[in-house]
């Protein structure tokens, strides 16, 4: 009885033990890779959560930063929180309708050749680095006329657009053709069918896609550096001014040598991460609920 348990005529005792050792080592490596992946996430989230939690206080949300702070007076990032809300809301308002329209055109009206080539362009657009988008909007809108929250929102909208368009296209494609045919068969016009039958049916998926897009873009720093970064420290909700945002604030604080600044950066980062994770979870839960029906 040999190691692998089989003996008899025509049974090869070839390199099986060695092959089995190779197999086991490879499996061990795969386990290791998974452990590394999960471990890194764990370490990062743990750092952000623990350092952020200990530095968390209400001042962060209610008090503005004090420039050149050599004082120990309480300060926060209220301007950044306000600015982020304004800019993300504006960006969503810009990207959502355009993204939906693009998806509607490509999925409901466009011939297959246009659908694939425009689809390719949209995928390429998705790959343009955020910092390049920032410079683009800078050259397009900021040069000569200054920064503003609207321009920052525009840059973020460019980042959101391909994402919203793609997810909306996928959701539209999932709407069964029989629905469209039923409506058209009644004599309802194409445009009416699209707006009253197809889109409402796809609404859930569009909402999910939007939530995910917002989660993604809330943490974007690069496009805002050139469009809405040189901002006042007082909390402002005026979109025509450049407004401070959380990601940019964290970015600036991370470059500072002052540990008090680092503390505020961790705290703001913790809130940002929490928001993003909650948004992603909500989106996932929403889509799971829909498919279960």
């Amino acid at each position: 009885m040999s190691a692998h348990g089989l003996s008899g005529p025509r049974v090869r005792l070839d390199r099986l033990p060695r092959r089995r050792r190779v197999n086991t080592s490879m499996e061990a490596l795969a386990w290791l890779a998974a452990a590394i992946g999960v471990g890194i996430l764990g370490v990062m989230v743990w750092s952000i959560a623990s350092k952020g939690w200990s530095a968390l206080n209400l001042d962060l949300l209610t008090k503005p930063p004090i420039p050149f702070s050599l004082t120990n007076a309480p300060q926060g990032l209220s301007n950044a929180f306000a600015g982020t809300l304004v800019i993300v809301a504006l960006a969503t308002a810009m990207a959502l309708p355009v993204g939906i329209l693009v998806a509607v055109y490509l999925n409901e009206f466009a011939p297959p050749s246009i659908r694939s080539s425009v689809g390719l362009v949209i995928d390429v657009l998705a790959g343009v680095p955020a910092i390049v988008v920032g410079i683009f909007v800078f050259v397009l809108l900021v040069v000569g006329s200054g920064q503003s929250a609207i321009k920052g929102a525009f840059a973020l909208a460019i980042l959101m657009l391909p994402f919203v368009a793609r997810t909306t296209m996928e959701v539209l494609a999932l709407v069964p053709n029989s629905l469209r045919e039923a409506s058209l068969g009644l004599g309802v016009a194409h445009w009416r069918t699209t707006l009253s039958i197809v889109l409402p049916r796809a609404a859930g998926g569009i909402v999910t896609g939007t939530v995910l897009a917002v989660a993604r873009v809330a943490g974007e720093t690069a496009p805002l550096l050139f469009t809405s970064s040189i901002a006042g420290t007082q909390t402002s909700w005026n979109p025509t001014h450049a407004l401070q945002t959380i990601p940019v604030a964290i970015f600036e604080l991370s470059e500072s040598p002052d540990p008090k600044d680092h503390a505020r950066a961790w705290a703001a980062g913790f809130i940002l991460l929490l928001f993003i994770l909650l948004a992603s979870l909500t989106a996932r839960w929403l889509s799971a609920r829909r498919t279960r029906i």
């Binding site: 348990g5 008899g8 025509r10 092959r19």
Partner: protein, 278 residues
């Protein structure tokens, strides 16, 4: 004697007498279960070397499950459990200390739908040899396997072409060549011709007859005529009901093919082969 629904016309040679038959598998009280549902129960039979053994029966009687026990392919399904023994050259290959990889080395399988690798025709046959350590005279091994699979003449000029560029029947013969290239003892065939046209089917049946002197074939088929044409021994499985009303597959009768089709002992066998059911 009954008038079979099937005319037993075959090109096979008559079987050697029972005493000279050598068992290669000895199955004892084999039960197979998926989760809570039994698939087959209480199967006991001997499969003999260098014969073609056919497993026939209505759909759902567990034929595929049964044949996949012989090369431990059911291990890939998480809810699968089995009890009983299958002795191969005297050792129980179902035992937990037996490595399935070693088992599959000696007991090959051809599947219902052709599944050649996305590689060249040459590499489809050669890859298994390379990995399993049979690297010498690779060209010769490939040619021999393809010749035995009755495919060599058709592909010898385009060995570099993709295996997927062949027709369905050729692909299946390529899969057979791939399986015999690694020199197994036994080739299990799970309905190998069910996805093929009659001409391709005939080629594969002839193959089994020509090669059985070197290999042992066990073939699952839902086509009775096919069993009658190629098999020396035939095992008839059918669906039975248990005490709690559960359905499972069971070996009803196992004998020389001629007897199964002309003078079956069991009423259920007779019903099946005369076409009264199934």
């Amino acid at each position: 004697m009954i008038e079979p629904a099937v005319r037993v016309e075959t090109r096979r040679q008559p079987m050697p007498p029972r005493e000279r038959l050598e068992p290669i598998f000895q199955v004892e009280a084999l039960d197979a279960i998926y989760g809570a549902k039994p698939a087959i129960k209480g199967v006991s039979m001997d499969i003999y070397k260098n014969l073609v053994t056919a497993i026939i029966g209505p759909s759902g009687c567990g034929k595929s499950t049964y044949i996949r026990c012989f090369n431990r392919m059911n291990d890939l399904i998480p809810s699968f459990r089995q009890t009983g023994t299958i002795r191969y050259h005297g050792q129980d290959i179902c035992a937990s200390n037996i490595d399935p990889v070693a088992v599959r080395r000696n007991i090959g399988m051809v599947f219902q739908r052709p599944n050649p690798f996305p590689k060249s025709i040459y590499d489809n046959v050669a890859w298994g040899c390379r990995v399993l350590g049979m690297k010498d005279d690779l060209d010769e091994r490939v040619e021999r396997a393809l010749t035995q699979a009755a495919l060599w003449d058709e592909v010898k000029d385009r060995l570099k072409a993709s295996g997927l560029s062949l027709s369905g029947g050729q692909q299946q013969r390529l899969c057979i060549a791939r399986a015999i290239a690694v020199e197994p003892d036994v080739v299990l065939m799970d309905e190998p011709a069910s996805a093929l046209d009659p001409i391709a089917t005939q080629a594969i049946e002839q193959l089994m007859l020509d090669l059985k002197s070197e290999y042992t074939f066990v073939i699952v088929t839902h086509n009775m005529q096919q069993a009658a044409r190629v098999a020396d021994m035939t095992a008839f499985f059918s669906i039975s009901r248990g005490d709690e009303g559960e359905r499972f597959g069971e070996l009803i009768e196992y004998d020389a093919t001629a007897k199964i089709f002309t003078a079956p002992s069991d009423r259920r066998t007779e019903d099946y082969v005369t076409g009264r059911f199934g």
